[in-house]
Amino acid sequence: MQLTLIRIFIYSSGALLLAAASAGFLTNWASAGFTTPNDPIFKISIRHLFWIVSGVELAVALVCLFGRQIPLQLMLILWLSMNLAIYRASLTFLGMRGGFGGYLANLSDVFGISPNTTDTMLTMMILYLLIGGSISLLFPWVWTRMRKFSVKANGQIKNSCPSCGGRIEFPVYGVGRKIACPHCMSTITLQKPPAALA
């Protein structure tokens, strides 16, 4: 159940980041010819910043949508969202009254929405990625710790695969379940070893 929720979060994050990256690329393409202000943190033009951030967003989005390693995906989401959150907080710290709003004239014009709405949408996306990423990384850890505690209480069973002979270790409560052998992928039924039966 937890895994399904995490997967949904990763897919939705990928979709959001892909949307943000597309918006950045489309804005730069459609507003070519206009001069943009410099971003107040890195002192580079907003157009260059859009290229860089959209590129990174696109990379993380593709990992989220097509990758298989959930911990890496979550780490990337969390890393990116933390960077964006720190950037956003720095703007407030530096006294930028309108947050991103003043820097998003081209983005808001290209998509027909006000700069303030654009700022709100971006802030909400960052919060979603940050909170979702944190919870997703935290939950498996808690779950694993609880499982380990439970396994220690009930003991482990060691056996070998009847098909390839590879070693398999599983908790007691797994007996009777059908799984794919991690060595040969053959479907096997987990059983207590003969000594234990005796």
Binding site: Y11, G14, A15, L18, A19, S22, A23, L26, A30, S31, G33, F34, T35, T36, P37, N38, P40, I46, L65, F66, R68, G95, M96, R97, G98, G99, G101, G102, Y103, L104, A105, N106, S108, D109, V110, F111, G112, S114, P115, A180, M185
Partner: protein, 588 residues
């Protein structure tokens, strides 16, 4: 395991397609919501060539050829027009990069039309320029005469001689140049330091004498004696300008005093008395009591039988013609605006617009009274643009003052949708932006500006507010989408109005601004600043302003055009400007 991987990839792929499709669809929806073909309309309108008052038209004496200057794609060109066939020929094109109107000029026709000359320069060298002499009938370049100093005037003395005034260390010399056998043009010994005062309107009065204006006086240099003499001084009135008829040897003087303008005929070598002082013979032509309107350039017509002059009234320049000096005036281009005019015998040529349409060159025949368009700067019919004829209206303010304005109504209106309004105060002449705005579905209003001088901008805000109050009675205007616009010094009045009534305006369009709205108080939600990259002052302040505005949460769209300065000369810069304006107003 493999099944799971394929399933994940399918989800990833579907989401990618969905998201990219959604974003592209959103973008296309926004684009589709903007007026159809608005970018093409802006490009079409900007392709109309601009005729410049800094390069006045010059017909030859036979009235079959005419020289004029017009914007080109990359800068400004000098063209030779064959009046009979209507064909034009580009003589020289100066790139917009570092274009200098003071060193790129038409110099006129030789007295027998055999040659004409123009001045061109190398942008790298500040003082160096060349006088280019061309064949009158074909425009073929015959000779390039180098001038190493600043040139302050040029006249043809005869078909084979010309003279020019040069400035060296504040001193003005006159150099006569003659054509020698073999087609070489050779300078003669210069007349050095003829004056140290500003001199203008160098005019040939014979093959061996020239006259120029120096303050309120006219000075004459005789080449035979080498002596300079003052032939006229205006003591009670200001000498505004003069012209001279070679055929009759008579000057036409334009003088101004506190009551208005006076036109006088003047023959310096005839005996007469003026103000108790023995002087040349004066003839009182007419007086025009039309202050505060300003008169510009007066010319004899048809061997002194009549006169032609331009009056600037509320920024609108109208040509008046008196076929004889006792006649009432005929006005030309009264509903449009005159760019420049010239007289050749009994023909008057005028560049400008009849009714604010794309400007052209018109020929007025003094004998028949017919007016014909001999050239239009709109070379192709509009494919997407609907030409909007402005409506001229007046409104009276609370103190009884009458204010004139021109209104361009939207090309398409719908009963249930209100249209944005652009309001500003400029000189009334053909411009691209009113047509772009109206074709995009907005109202465009120009509260007519009296003249170029800043002093006349007052009361800028009062007049704008009077017209605004009148306009918002129109239910078709969206009062939540009113934009102010201003160009150059006009932005000073605009900024004052933003400060006084910040909540009335949605945004502002500032073209080459000299002043920018204050960011500390209530601010506009949209601002466009448009400027040329070579206009150093504007660029520096606009970039700083955009940064400060962004830091304050205000969106400023900044469009800077390459190779353009405070004035835009080329069609390509005009097109960029029109398209950026269309994007700002109607979406990207």
């Amino acid at each position: 395991m493999r099944v799971t991987s394929i399933k994940q990839a399918a989800i990833g792929f579907s989401l990618t397609v969905l998201v990219v499709g959604l974003m592209a669809g959103w973008r296309m929806y926004v684009k589709a919501a903007s007026p159809a073909h608005i970018q093409e309309i802006a490009a079409e309108l900007a392709a109309v060539g601009k005729l410049y008052s800094t390069i006045p038209i010059m017909p030859n004496r036979a009235c079959d050829k005419l020289l004029f200057g017009q914007s080109t794609e990359q800068g400004v060109g000098i063209f030779l027009l064959d009046i009979v066939s209507g064909q034009k020929h580009l003589m020289h094109e100066q790139s917009r990069k570092k274009y200098d109107p003071a060193r790129f000029r038409l110099l006129g026709w030789a007295p027998d039309d055999s040659f004409f000359a123009y001045q061109r320069y190398e942008p790298q060298d500040y003082l160096f320029s060349r006088i280019i002499i061309c064949k009158g009938n074909s425009g073929e370049m015959l000779y390039s005469f180098p001038v190493h100093e600043m040139m302050a005037g040029f006249v043809w003395l005869s078909p084979h001689a010309f003279a020019y005034m040069r400035i060296t260390d504040g001193k003005r010399d006159l150099v006569a140049v003659e054509e020698k056998a073999g087609g070489e043009w050779v300078p003669l010994k210069p007349f050095k330091n003829i004056t140290q005062k500003p001199a203008s309107a160098l005019t040939a009065t014979s093959t061996h004498s020239v006259v120029w204006q120096e303050g309120n006086t006219l000075q004459r240099l005789n080449f035979a004696t080498g002596l300079t003499e003052q032939i006229f001084e205006s003591t009670s009135t200001g000498l505004q300008g003069f012209s001279f008829s070679l055929d009759t040897g008579k000057f036409l003087l334009l003088c101004r005093d506190k009551t208005g303008y006076g036109l006088f005929g003047f023959q310096p070598d005839e005996k007469g008395v003026w103000g108790g002082v023995r002087a040349g013979l004066f003839t009182n032509i007419c007086s025009i009591k039309s202050l505060p309107n300003s008169m510009e350039k007066v010319l004899w017509t048809d061997n002194e039988k009549g006169i032609a002059y331009v009056v600037q009234d509320l920024g609108q320049r109208t040509l008046y013609i008196k076929t004889n000096t006792f006649d009432t005036s005929i006005s030309l281009l009264a509903r449009g605006s005159v760019v420049s005019f010239a007289v050749s015998r009994n023909q008057i040529f005028v560049a400008g617009s009849l009714t604010n349409e794309p400007p052209g060159i018109w020929q007025y025949d003094l004998v028949s009274g017919s007016l014909n368009c001999i050239y239009s700067s709109q070379e192709q019919p509009f494919k997407y643009t609907k030409y909007i004829v402005p409506l001229c209206r007046t409104v009276t303010n609370t103190s009884g003052k009458e204010i004139t304005y021109h209104l361009w109504e939207p090309a398409k209106t719908s009963s249930n949708k209100k249209s944005p309004l652009l309001i500003g105060r400029s000189l009334y002449s053909w411009e691209v932006y009113p047509q772009v705005a109206a074709n995009g579905g907005a109202f465009f209003v120009n509260v007519d500006r009296p003249s170029y001088t800043s002093a006349n901008l007052n009361p800028w805000d009062e007049d704008i507010m009077t017209v605004y109050a009148e306009l918002v009675k129109d239910s078709g205007i969206d009062t939540n989408a009113v934009f102010l616009y201003g160009s150059s010094s006009e932005t000073e009045g605009l900024v004052s109005l933003v400060a006084k009534k910040p909540n009335l305006w949605k945004g502002a369009i500032l073209l080459n601004p000299t002043s920018l709205p204050d960011l500390s108080g209530p601010h506009l939600s949209k601002i466009l600043i448009d400027g040329g990259i070579d206009d150093a002052g504007t660029v520096k302040s606009a970039i700083k302003y955009q940064q400060a505005a962004a830091d304050s949460g205000v969106s400023v769209t900044l469009a800077l055009h390459q190779d353009a300065g405070h004035v835009y000369w080329s069609s390509s810069t005009k097109r960029e400007q029109a398209q950026q304006l269309a994007k700002f107003l109607f979406g990207y």
